[in-house]
Symmetry: C2
Subunit: 341 residues, 2 copies
């Protein structure tokens, strides 16, 4: 809910409109103005390069995935590196395309023990307790910085300092949301009441299912999947999957090769015949593939905070009514190819 914040927003907007010359910059323009020092290089060992069979017109289809940073999902991420280095994914296929949900790939016979492609040695079995981390990190939240217990009045002050009183990032799925190392996260809170004050701190944190995020397919509990079967989100953020499957990265280039595939007509969008499935020619680690270097906008940078605020309050010329808020999946982290030197 945001009653007060919406009213305050109008006030602040009126002020900034008179204080500025020319139209307000769009979120894209704000990002374009970020100094190079705010861009963070993505390491090649954190990239996966998936090459699909060419399309009907012979066009190359290549998808680049950035793997999840520590301390999240690292067991599955390690398995995926093992599978890619063993070239295990090569010759598997895209088996499921469900509209407004996911594209899923792997061994189409993976659930049939007699026909399944043998997995490489050394894959870890992960537990459900790894879906969220309680030991997690110093978080810089777009809403507030959370280090240990803080009073609710301190938090309100912190919000004002960081973004001005102009943005609302309320979330229906978690106590708060934020960004860490370039990825979006949800967080749970613990609350203590003491005298008249309320004190809050982050308890757990977990990556969230935004568009383009890549996760680990699994069977029913207690299986958590190995990483041999993967999916990516191609629709409205299915946040109900948060903490129910492992998120291991996100697509940073080429998602259109997945999102524009024909939808499967079987149950849950599975393809019903072999000729519908797109062959995965290879999945390689970024260290073993020809791939351009990428970088992301530091999610703790001043420009990212301005960008998030501008996503929440669109003031570029097309817009009439700024929303006054945004959900975390509507603030995609800017990623770009590093310009050639």
């Amino acid at each position: 809910m945001k009653h007060v914040i919406a009213a305050t927003a109008a006030l602040v907007l009126a002020t900034s409109a008179t204080a500025q010359d020319g139209p307000a910059p769009s979120p894209h323009e704000i990002v374009a103005g970020a100094p190079q020092s705010e861009w963070v290089a993505i390491q090649r060992e954190d990239l996966l390069v998936m090459t699909l069979a060419p399309d009907r017109d012979g066009n190359v289809r290549r998808v680049v995935i950035q793997l999840m940073p520590a301390p999240f999902s690292q067991g599955w991420v390690k398995n995926i590196r093992t599978l890619a280095r063993a070239q295990w994914y090569d010759g598997t296929s895209i088996n499921r395309v469900q509209d407004n949900y996911v594209v899923q790939w792997g061994d189409v016979d993976g659930e049939d023990a007699a026909k399944a492609k043998p997995l490489p040695e050394g894959l870890q079995v992960m537990g459900e307790d790894e879906y969220a981390r309680s030991d997690a990190v110093k978080f810089f939240d777009v809403v507030w910085g959370q280090l240990g217990w803080r009073s609710s009045s301190e938090i309100v002050q912190s919000i004002r300092t960081q973004l001005g009183p102009r943005a609302d990032f309320d979330d229906a799925y978690s106590a708060t949301v934020g960004f860490h190392s370039g990825f979006p996260f949800g967080q749970s809170s613990e609350i203590r009441h003491q005298s008249d004050a309320m004190y809050i701190r982050t308890a757990d944190a977990w990556p969230v299912h935004c568009y383009g995020m890549v996760g680990v397919g699994r069977s029913y509990s207690p299986d958590t999947g190995s990483g041999a079967e993967l999916y990516t989100v191609i629709g409205h953020a299915p946040r109900h999957l948060d903490r129910n499957t492992a998120l291991v990265g996100r697509v940073i280039e080429g998602i259109e090769h997945l999102s524009s595939l024909p939808r499967g007509t079987g149950e849950l969008g599975f393809y019903e015949s072999a000729d519908e499935r797109v062959t995965i020619e290879s999945i390689r680690m970024g260290t073993e593939a020809e791939v351009a270097p990428f970088e992301y906008l530091d999610t703790e940078s001043a420009t990212f905070a301005r960008y998030a605020e501008a996503r929440a309050n669109r003031r570029d010329p097309f817009f009439i009514v700024p929303a006054g808020g945004a959900d975390i999946c509507n603030i995609p982290v800017p990623v770009r190819r590093v310009a050639a030197q």
Copy 2:
């Protein structure tokens, strides 16, 4: 934020798990169990049937759109009926497919006065003030019923009565969200403080940009578009467009024919060449087309409330951790073809 609610959820879930026999029903199963009396027929005059040129394999591509109910966007809806009855859309094309955003269609020369296809007589010019309604209706919110001023304690009681203390529908874009006549809406609030109590009532209400919603393309302000150019959402809900463009309906069948189209490579996802554009063979009113009857699940029904709560707290066997909440665009209104008698 939801600190208290998440903690309470765990408690309630533990109770319901022991009280029930067998696995909890999925949202889909809850909907399947709705009595016929909770399904509302969609009138043929509220349907649009769009037929695209066949795909490369000669398959028919047909998209069915349900128009927005009164009192929202009715000027644009009337224009669209006029355009469809004049067969104006026939021979126009799909001109833009932007990944994780929209598919847009209309006259590709629409902005070139010399080449634009002449519009039929009688189209209304609409104002921006029609994007939201302050005179709007008796709302039944999934969170609470709002009729005039209510105290915050009444509201809390109302939430408990309707859904139990188990679901959080916090929204970053509006004071509250809810459903009306089968469509999702955002609402703003007015607040009054009196003695120690806070009183709240709905001020404006407006339709929101969920997946599959259909809106009116427009130029810069003060133009609001006529309805000759339309778009539909094919990605994460772009809620920043709420109250900035007119929403006139939603796709209820065949969205895969739009969402799986190749992405445009021009700016904003516009196609760069004529052969990329898909021809629209026709758009007809449901009264003038062969189209199956459809119905939607009454959004004020008991089953819809159970369905919304189950979307917010997935307890069917795949799930380990229920979210404890859901955003409005993750609670799609169930729509189905009426079974043949």
